[in-house]
């Protein structure tokens, strides 16, 4: 039972990390209808610079630098995409695949076989939560993610940027007529996605993971099922999907020995099986808007 509880807590924490990435997908999708396949390499970009600078400036400033670099990188991608004026969202999404090839090739080449650590304040220490022993970094991930997610939702609901984004997502033509600049809205969305991805990247590289390596961007792909399960256009769905996928992954990986007839490793594939099952049942995800065609 203790084991089960620890797995669930670890899963929730992993789910919080996925939620940060999935929120990036969702906010970009809502603002521009583009699915950003370069999210994984944006994450790697930010986290790589955190790993490269922390020994000189300290952990927290390094994270801020990483966030800034990933946000600027995201903005560059957004500017490239905005050059294609008449392209439909699928074409734009394919362009982000091209960006992903470039960025991830360069970053994985630089990382090579190294495992980059962050020297984060939590290290390998664990904490006792009642009967459960959990890595401190996982608890920190939960707390930081909860704060960021809360801040995001507050901004999304109350700030003028949030109102403008929601208006654009609702009906971009009407929003444009009300004087909302779509370009600004989409710039904001990309900035936030880049920043959130960096934070997620840092926590993907802290305990119990040994550090950032050249496949960390692929781990970030697990946030795709999270976003889709919740519904690509639902911010609340990103949270629900992230937590669900995180817990499912943690449990299937933890009980892999008992499920050995299903093969191993089960962690990665379980997220995608859950996604397919949800899509069969609800093609727009759990909380996504159902598409209605009117003629």
């Amino acid at each position: 039972m203790t084991y089960f509880g620890e797995l669930v807590i670890n899963g929730i924490s992993l789910g919080c990390i996925y939620t940060l990435i999935a929120l990036g997908f969702v906010v970009i999708f809502k603002a521009t209808e583009v699915v950003n396949f370069a999210q994984g390499s944006m994450l790697l970009l930010g986290a790589y610079f955190v790993a490269r600078t922390h020994s000189r400036v300290g952990f927290v400033p390094a994270v801020l630098i990483g966030i800034a670099i990933a946000a600027v990188g995201a903005l560059v991608i957004q500017q490239v995409l905005s050059r294609a004026k008449f392209a439909d969202p699928i074409t734009l999404s394919i362009i982000t695949i091209g960006v992903d090839i470039l960025l991830s090739t360069e970053l994985t080449r630089r990382i090579g076989q190294q495992v980059l650590s962050f020297d984060d304040p939590w290290g390998n220490r664990t904490a006792d939560l009642g009967p459960f022993t959990v890595p401190q970094a996982r608890i920190a991930a939960m707390v930081v993610a909860a704060v960021l997610i809360g801040a995001f939702f507050a901004a999304y609901k109350y700030s003028s940027w949030g109102v403008a984004t929601r208006a654009t997502a609702e009906d971009f033509e009407a929003a444009a007529l009300m004087g909302i600049r779509r370009n600004r809205v989409s710039m904001g969305a990309w900035l936030i996605a880049g920043a959130l991805a960096t934070v997620a990247g840092v926590f993907l590289g802290t305990s119990p993971s040994p550090g950032l390596n050249n496949t960390s961007n692929l781990t970030a792909l697990n946030a795709f099922p999270a976003a889709v399960v919740g519904g690509l256009d639902s911010t609340g769905g990103a949270v629900a999907g992230g937590l669900l996928i995180g817990v499912v992954q943690s449990l299937t990986a933890g009980y892999n020995n008992d499920l050995s007839f299903l093969g191993s490793p089960l962690g990665d594939v379980s997220a995608y099986v859950v996604m397919l099952a949800v899509l069969l049942w609800r093609p727009s995800g759990l909380f996504g808007t159902r598409e209605v065609a009117r003629v």
Partner: protein, 387 residues
């Protein structure tokens, strides 16, 4: 005489290319034959992906899965039960290779059909993300279903043979014009023949009623449904057809590798195929072939000549190696093509042909012709009030 030639320019160019490809094995060495073989296989796969993504507008990242089904399906159907070491015994059906090829293609189609309840319900981008799942499930199966796939180190694909003629170095020995026809030369002709068939079939599908239906679905699902196109069925059909193409390509890949391994069939492979059809020009069958040749050959050729290419790092050195360099090239190519020349290589070829043709006489433009992608700008932005 010249007028006829001009009007049939496409046909003439096609015949010339096929003839050149048919005599090449008499002149080029083993390396280029191997490159060609991979290019033929990739071209067939790319035509299939293009039918789905280019012509029907359904983004799919699952192509690696269907390629793997073809490759391992062939190995299973034609193979026999053997102990490949490491305590793994792979099973096989021991069927004749030609039958195994057909069954492998059908199996890939069946896999596509299994996925079609999802494929036909999802629109464009959701499908793209959902299809990611197949790649990961594929990796899981390839690594774990050891009695069929052989696990991490793969299993041997038995050589192909047709009516007693075997596509190996001997049996019967064959020498044409003083050139010994070994396994690579023979497979080259197999690949070329299959590619020509695949090319013609795809072209005819696109020019017939189902092809028009698919292109209408790409342009607007609502409009297609209003015109009486059964959108779900056609989307599922496009998915099945595209998986069968991938299955055939997978068989050729298995024959070229002689031993397919799971590592090859990962997400990178799917993305590589996407790069092929984007660079070649979405929706164009010929473009898919050109894009496939380019994307397949680039890393192989760069690796082969990396000794004389000073800007590339040698293996083991820090710096940009051939694989990374070709990644940069086609990553950048995807971006540039889609931003600047959405028609890709096919669009450029069409423009050249158009400029020579206009001097002659104005040809009526076929607006749904796949190469006439310029008409796209006139179409409703998706996500507008209609959808």
């Amino acid at each position: 005489m010249f007028d006829v030639l001009r009007r049939r320019l496409g046909l003439v160019v096609g015949v010339v290319i096929v003839v050149v490809l048919a005599v090449l094995p008499l002149y080029v060495g083993a390396f280029w034959l191997q490159v060609g073989l991979f290019a033929f296989a990739a071209a067939i796969g790319a035509i299939g992906l293009n039918l789905l993504t280019g012509s029907t507008g359904q983004l799919s990242l699952a192509h690696a899965f269907f390629l793997a089904v073809g490759a391992y399906g062939y190995s299973y159907f034609s193979g026999t039960s053997t102990n490949i070491g490491g305590g793994i015994i792979v099973h096989g059906a021991g069927l004749p290779p030609f039958l195994a090829l057909v069954l492998a293609v059908l199996l890939a189609g069946a896999a596509g059909l299994l996925f079609s309840p999802i494929a036909s319900r999802l629109r464009g981008i959701y499908l793209g993300v959902a299809s990611l799942a197949l790649v990961f499930i594929c990796q899981h199966l390839l690594l774990n279903a050891k009695s069929v796939t052989g696990g991490f180190y793969g299993r041997n694909a038995p050589p192909f043979s047709l009516f007693g003629f075997s596509f190996t170095d001997a049996n019967p020995p064959l020498t044409v014009l003083n050139v010994e026809f070994g396994q690579r030369e023979r497979l080259w002709y197999l690949g070329l023949a299959l590619l020509v068939l695949a090319y013609l079939f795809a072209r005819n599908v696109l020019r017939s009623r189902p092809g028009r239906a698919l292109q209408t679905i790409r342009d607007s699902e609502v409009a297609a449904a209003v015109m009486g196109v059964n959108v779900r069925r056609y989307k599922a059909g496009a998915f099945v057809l595209s998986s069968m193409y991938a299955g055939l390509a997978g068989v050729l890949i298995a024959l070229a590798f002689q031993r397919p391994v799971p590592d090859y069939f990962d997400l990178r492979l799917s993305i590589t195929y996407l790069a092929m059809i984007v660079i070649g020009g979405l929706g164009s069958v010929g473009g898919a072939v050109a894009g496939a040749a380019f994307v397949t050959a680039l890393p192989l050729v760069l690796t082969h000549y990396s000794n004389s290419l000073t800007f590339l790092a040698q293996p083991g050195q820090n710096g940009i190696g051939p694989a990374e360099f070709s990644n940069y090239v086609y990553g950048a190519a995807i971006i540039v093509v889609l931003l600047v020349a959405p028609g890709g290589l096919a669009g450029l070829a069409g423009r050249v042909r158009g400029s020579t043709g206009r001097r002659r006489r104005a040809e009526p433009v076929d607006v749904v012709h796949p190469e006439a992608r310029d008409t796209d700008t006139a179409r409703l932005p998706s996500g507008s009030a209609l959808t």
